[in-house]
Assembly symmetry: C2
Homo-oligomer: 190 residues x 2
């Protein structure tokens, strides 16, 4: 009441920059590259809109910066190859806690239509997903197996994003999970 709690943060370029980066991450994941506006992002970060352009140069450069912060999809690689299917299927379908890796997938699929975002997207996808994935898989044609599994994951995530899972009951979801596990496993096994 007496006053707003910490009404104005002490000036800190690094913190501000990070706040913008976080806000941009969320907006890009929710609305895609074209859909997210710099003004929205700035508002989320509680920052003047001009600062975004000032810090990152342009929207596209901000996008690249966000993509560069992507974790190397590391959580998908924690475990054995033999239970990859069930593990990843559970992680994708039980999206109560939308973790980082899946969020970056959302950014990608939501920005797939944008011409400006296409090239950064392609590069980031290879560096942060396909290449480490293929390396983790190993064996013959690891790149093809990684790509196929990645495509399947992307398709399922996108389907979830579109349908909001309105049209599947609990039993159907369990069935989808087990079948997805099987198909995923078929995609990655040599």
């Amino acid at each position: 009441m007496v006053e707003l709690p910490a009404p104005s943060r002490t000036r800190n370029a690094a913190a501000t920059r990070q706040a913008i980066l976080d806000a941009a991450h969320n907006r890009f994941a929710k609305e895609g590259y074209d859909g997210a506006s710099l003004r929205e992002i700035a508002a989320d970060a509680k920052v003047d809109a001009a600062l975004v352009s000032r810090y990152f140069g342009s929207k596209e450069e901000l996008f690249v910066e966000v993509l560069n912060c992507a974790p190397d999809a590391s959580d998908l690689f924690e475990g054995t190859l033999s239970d990859f299917g069930t593990r990843v299927a559970a992680k994708i379908l039980d999206d109560r806690d939308v973790d980082q890796g899946v969020e970056y997938l959302l950014i990608m699929l939501r920005s797939a239509s944008s011409l400006a975002a296409a090239e950064p997207l392609r590069r980031s996808m290879r560096t942060h997903f396909h290449d480490p994935f293929a390396a983790w898989l190993g064996g013959p044609q690891a790149d093809v197996r990684a790509r196929l599994a990645g495509d399947l994951i992307m398709g399922v995530c996108m389907s979830q994003a579109i349908t909001s899972d309105h049209d599947l009951d609990e039993e159907g979801r369990a069935s989808l999970r087990s079948r997805l596990a099987k198909v995923l496993q078929a995609a990655v096994e040599p």
Copy 2:
């Protein structure tokens, strides 16, 4: 040389409407719902921009109309279930002739991020793809199998759209095709 061939089409409301519909189809497939502008669509159809709004009321109604023209993914269902994988894998990956069904998939994935397009998309997806697909599949949990196969197809198409297949040589493509066939088959079989 002497003059433009048929410099001005004789006035024909039905033909003009169809021209707009075709142009909208192509633009939506290329740039998604948000990315495609009515002015671009009108220019493609060689029509004044105002006519688009006049004929279809609003951009969203035009989008719905385009989606309603979608073929029932019929070309995927011509053949036996046992060779579904190889058949569809070939059709998707040899996209020299991007046929209608895949084009509508492009519209969907490119417009997935748009809030305005979400609801029409979801409806069209069920009516024109999932439901007839599940009906064609038959057997236990046909809806789950249809959804999984659909998600895989969507993911692969989207991956193609993003990467433009820059990063796969001829041998890799052959390998991808055969493996996709196997995985697709695993998705649809009971």
